[in-house]
Symmetry: C2
């Protein structure tokens, strides 16, 4: 018995930033639900995925690569380390740094979360053809790259 909720007023619904915000919000919700099954959140996945892809790194490096603030990296790594998914070790070559490495359990979890993410992507992009998905990816990538050089 849902009201035929006429979502989003005409003026807003044609605004790209509105569309971006809404779709991203939707994607984030789907991802969040998927991550909940792993009892983890977005930050955890970003760090874990980056570590498994690119190998051990310092916290500052991780933050830079994932777009996560250094202070938030600390808390998230604390959490991941507490679950035994990563290991924090001092860098012998630079005593300011910690070297973060994934454990075997962490690699497993990353793989499992990767599956979840794949499923969410498929769900999210269901109404789009392969060509259209590439179009979307290309357009968003160009926007990001343009704005990433502050």
């Amino acid at each position: 018995m849902d009201h035929a909720a006429p979502q989003s007023p005409a003026g807003l619904s044609t605004t790209p930033s509105w569309l971006l915000n809404q779709t991203a919000s939707h994607a984030a919700r789907l991802l969040s639900e998927g991550f909940a099954a792993h009892d983890l959140r977005g930050y955890h996945y970003r760090l874990l995925a980056t570590l498994t892809e690119e190998g051990p790194a310092s916290q500052a490096d991780l933050g830079r690569r994932c777009g996560i603030d250094r202070s938030d990296v600390v808390a998230t790594i604390n959490d991941l380390a507490g679950r035994g998914l990563v290991v924090r070790a001092p860098d012998p070559a630079d005593r300011r740094r910690n070297v973060i490495s994934v454990t075997d359990a962490g690699a497993d979890e990353a793989r499992r979360m990767g599956v979840t993410v794949e499923r969410v992507q498929a769900d999210l992009l269901a109404p789009l053809s392969t060509d259209e998905r590439e179009q979307l990816t290309r357009l968003l990538t160009r926007l990001l790259r343009h704005h990433s050089r502050h």
Copy 2:
């Protein structure tokens, strides 16, 4: 493929939900900065814009149309009313409802914020041609419409 870009790991940077999240985040930041000049936030704009576009409405209706929770509508309308941008009046036809209307000052502010939003859109979409902007809008709209019927 593995063109190791300094930003965002390869596996993530090809993930549509990641791209959506990052671009939306960027757009939100730009909008937030723009709104700051008006000493207002996103919720204020959504409600104000919806009201000026579609006329007076109840709070619950506004919330449904803007995708804002009822409780958040309360606080935002409180704020807007406190600034004299909207008026909250009891609905004589249904005493559960409040009818929210924009004042002249509110309409002015909405117009000014609209200009700000336009500027942000232009900034955001700068690297895209007119055709590409339409493509993006079309793709996002289809995604949203597909997922809006829950």
